[in-house]
């Protein structure tokens, strides 16, 4: 897999996939997409970068251990259910706020944070597994 074409192309491909994964994550609430599929795209981006430039390069680039990422994601997801405690509604109920910043209405919700958490869990675990398996091939 170490052809010049692939190695030259892989960084751009990885960047593009990472951006796309965030796009998919954010459009997820009412349209196809979401944290899970976004995380999978991001994890494949890491895997591609790992194949072309070696696993150490990936580990340097993400500067956190994949398990660390997964733990943080699970933490965010779990916490996103707790604001409903203070709103007197059951656990994990979606709560929305619509602040207007610079004339643009933002739609923020606890669901979004849950999805971001899922994104990080998937990125961390699947990326971690992929990197470990790629390391074994060397």
């Amino acid at each position: 897999m170490n052809t010049v074409i692939f190695r030259a192309l892989a960084p751009y491909l990885t960047t593009l996939m990472m951006l796309f994964s965030v796009f998919v994550l954010l459009r997820g609430h009412n349209e196809p997409g979401g944290g899970f599929i976004g995380g999978l795209i991001a994890a494949s981006a890491l895997a591609i970068y790992g194949i072309s430039n070696g696993v150490p390069a990936v580990r340097r680039a993400i500067w956190a251990h994949p398990i660390h990422l997964a733990g943080t994601g699970l933490f965010i997801s779990g916490l996103s259910g707790l604001p409903s405690l203070f709103a007197n509604v059951p656990f994990l109920t979606g709560l929305w706020v619509f602040p207007t910043i610079l004339g643009v209405e933002l739609k923020l919700s606890t669901i979004l944070f849950f999805d971001i958490g899922v994104y990080m869990v998937v990125l961390g675990t699947i990326g971690g597994i992929a990197l470990t398996l790629e390391e074994r091939e060397d």
Partner: protein
Amino acid sequence: MADETTSSYVDLSVAYVDATVQAADYLVVLPVIGPLIMSAFCLMLRRQQHVQPWIAGITLGAVFFGNIALALRIMESGPVFMAMGRWLPPFGISFNADALSVLMTLTASLVSLVCVFYSAKSVDGDGRRYGFYPFLLMLTAGVSGAFLTADLFNLYVWFEVLLISSFGLIVLGNSHAQLDGAVKYAFLNLVATTLFLIGIGYTYGLFGTLNMADLTLRIAESDGLPLGTVALLFIFAFAMKAAAFPLNFWLPASYHTPNIVTSALFAALLTKVGIYALLRVAGMLLPGSFDTFQEVLIWVAALTSLLGAAGALASTDIRKVLGFLVLSGIGAMFVGIAVVSPDGLRGAVLYAVHSILVMAALYLAAGVIGRMTGSFDLHSVGGLYRAHPFFAALFLILVFAISGLPPFSGFWPKVILVRSSMDAGEGWLTAAYLVSSFIAMIAIGRVWLFAFWRDDLDGTRIAITPLTRDEAQAYITPIAILVAVIVGIGLIADPAVHMASAAAIGIIDPSAYITSVSPVGP
């Protein structure tokens, strides 16, 4: 966009919880989300290993006291219910805690908590680096989730959560024996959960719903459906989870291999989750399934308890003796299930609680034996009475408790089981159970005799490494706490028996469970 979410053209009032939820209602989800979030937090603090035991201890302590509050509330005013994200069943996933759920969750959280105390000294840096505490917390979350959920598919998910964390725990340390045991443990448990999933598939195909309360209603109305097949699949899957004969072989192959705290947790919790699921799904959802398969269940009960006792008698490794005693206990619980009576179920539930406490304490005590004598082999242990009389006394109480002697926690379930099986006219089942518990008593009594009473080996004194002060605190305190609870249940049996009775009634007549959920009509 704001008005679209608030004023909907579809009437959501039938699908939404309208009543405000008090903070106290969150006690239902606390045993799951507390450990889950804190497990994630421990993962985030991978490098700060010294704070992880504190996080785990404080979390599980909070969960334990939360469970006590929940238990008091349930015994006073019936099952407590929470619909995740406001969606009422059958649309959303919900948690529903009745007497059976809370009794099991409470006991499980106590055992996890004392295991954290014990792990302060017995889990070394390697074990911590590879995630002992995150896995422990996730295992507790999975076990509590399985006890509390009111949705069949969600039960499967919690089974997998606890399965994955148990995989992580069982290979922690990476010795050859552990890999060998883990292969058998992992594959057979995976088959059991997949069978459970298949049962869920059929249930969904037949009824189009997976909420337990909703299912109970629909099954009661149904007529001429192949419920026996579904029930058999569930019984098969959960009996495999509970390690009942002839589906038990993964347990003696794996339980003696990991770190002793892990063994204690597994022996206490995992098989009982199988028993709980059997009671909940086959007992409550599919009433009559125990009657249909009574003959099989009686054989399973008798053979499991006899095989467990015989295996314990034939083992030389103390941890293996204990592994077989877990089996023997599972047989006793099946005695209660097989006699198909409220009394039998009460005995089974009470025995499950007793077994969780005693097996955890025995494994932890075996760890101390191994630490002080440097061996788990009955041929070479000894001299512990002289070295640590208090520990010897604790172990002797555990021996009496697991043999079902008064005044300890094993006595009451044994009385109930013997009487209910006699009442059911299954005299020889009673005989098999009594014989097996007699053999089990010999097997565990022999452990005490060799490890504590024996002073010298072929004329030479057995070398003992005494516990340091720190170690004595970390090792003996958890065992003493469990022994105190065991003696407490034995002397003041009323609360435990009362809760077990409420649990058994809840299985046979789930009307309180259903009204607390109030599912939307079909």
